[in-house]
């Protein structure tokens, strides 16, 4: 149990006739950064949605921290310490940036009817929410309405919320896409710091330099199947991986 935080065992997800995921197996060890890559439509986001409870697998098992979690609802999985971002950002648009983060800070309360009546406008709560915003570089915009932020800042907001929820495992779905070069560098450093805090990270990334630079290990999906797994060096030389990428769309550099 200690050597595996999350085990995905022969998991399939079919949508009608489409096999979005087909018998995929991989594991994540505590404190590692695992990269999940693959061409468009490979099934990466579907995989996140299965782990975070948005979808139920058609077949297979998902074990998180020693417990079968497939079939559990998203809010139940979140409560077990799994935080996630969304590839298509989902801010709480009319709330402020600070309030967006506070929503996540309520996670320990939402399950207890007695704990939801106190006010979230306390000084201690706001200070701690600001600290998280500071970590992702959004503290200056705390009182801005989330709907007004540009995409780069919305991605950081997603990370801030996911950081609070993801005490054990963090799922980042293309958090780097749409960011400028210096933003990418900052975010890379942030993710390294997060790992240093003892949090495990599963990362979907199209930018190969980022994915290979950050990940300890990489899992490659194509057409819903796992086609390779290994260290970044092994993956970069893997014939099937090169073929999968070249076969589809020239070179893969969607930054």
């Amino acid at each position: 149990m200690n050597s595996t935080l999350l085990a995905v065992k022969a998991v399939s997800k079919h949508f009608g006739g489409l096999k979005a995921l087909d018998q995929v197996t991989f594991e994540i060890r505590p404190r590692e950064i695992l990269g999940l890559i693959g061409p468009n439509g490979a099934g990466k986001t579907v995989c996140f949605n299965l782990i975070s409870g948005v979808y139920k697998p058609t077949a297979g098992e998902i074990i998180f921290n020693g417990e079968r979690t497939q079939g559990k609802a998203p809010h139940q999985i979140a409560r077990r310490g799994v935080g996630r971002t969304f590839q298509i950002v989902k801010p709480f648009a009319t709330l402020s940036v600070l309030e967006n983060v506070l929503v996540a800070r309520g996670i320990s309360r939402y399950n207890h009817l007695g704990k939801i009546w106190s006010s979230w406008k306390s000084r201690a709560e706001i200070r701690q929410a600001l600290e998280v915003l500071d970590r992702v570089g959004l503290a200056d915009l705390a009182h801005r309405k989330a709907a007004l932020l540009p995409l780069g800042n919305l991605r950081r907001l997603e990370i801030a919320r996911a950081l609070i929820v993801g005490k054990r495992l963090l799922l980042l779905d293309e958090s780097f896409s749409g960011l400028r070069h210096e933003e990418i560098l900052q975010l890379e450093q942030l993710i390294r710091n997060i790992r240093a805090d003892g949090i495990t990270v599963l990362l979907i990334e199209h930018n190969m330099r980022v994915a290979m630079g950050l990940s300890n290990r990489v899992v490659v999906l194509d057409h819903g199947r796992k086609i390779a797994e290994g260290s970044p060096q092994q993956i970069q030389q893997n014939e099937r991986v090169i073929e999968a990428y070249l076969g589809r769309k020239g070179h893969s550099h969607a930054a």
């Binding site: 809010h75 709480f92 009319t94 309030e99 929503v103 309520g106 939402y110 009546w117 106190s118």
Partner: protein, 294 residues
Amino acid sequence: MNAYLITIATLICINAIVACGLNVIVGFAGQISLGHAAFFGIGAYSAALLATKAGLSFWAALPLVVVITALIGLLLGLPSLRVKEDFLAITTIGINFIVEAIFLYIPFFGGALGIGGIPRIMLFGVRLKGLTFFLLCLFFLLLVLAFCWWFSRSWGGLACFALREEESAAASMGISPVRFKLLAFVIGTAMAGLGGALYAHYIRFISATDFSFPVSVLLLSIVVLGGMGTLWGPVVGAVILGALPEVFRPLVDYRFLFYMLLLLLMIRYQPAGLLGEGSMVHRVFSLLLPEGKK
């Protein structure tokens, strides 16, 4: 003349209380309800029955009325809130018609004759009517507003706002969508129950049509006009829609048509309502008080 004004003000107060409840469901949690009058009616009928058949005083019955209405809200909300949004509108309309039919066709509820002889409310040995009854309604309206204010600053309220904005993101932060939608529904229907009890003891003769579908449309118009999700919106909406038919007497027969039209126009041109963000009133105020908020 004075008594006439007090009558209108009292009914506005009662409408505002019920609309505040609807605002928690629609404005805070983002769940459409087109059947709120059903719960207004359930409150009124339970209060009427507890007073006339069980002989309870208003004060003894009130907690029961609120609990009964909220429980029925819970029971009806549980299956309704699991359906997709467009169905929720239809489901709640259905609830309204079924509840009205039950009042109308089951003899226990007085049938077509309704329930009469509902006693006045006594307080400190005084029989409340006219101004004193209005003050009682105003007191309960302030209580309801205080609760809404409190709820909007509570973690539960924040969870409802998050659900309204992005359900899947809210769920990824530990918020159970069904549980918090139900919470809003129960709070909203409890307020409708309170409003119903006051209505029954004010009108003292109630019948099923008092709580028919057009009343639900009126309540929704009040909330949309005032500003969904704002604190004072339901009060502003209730005042405007309560006073308008009195000002334009000839309009009275076309009231329902007018509310429908208003609802459509507001949703098209001022979806945030009079008090919501980005509305005309809001813009004028932010011009007057730059950086006034926050």
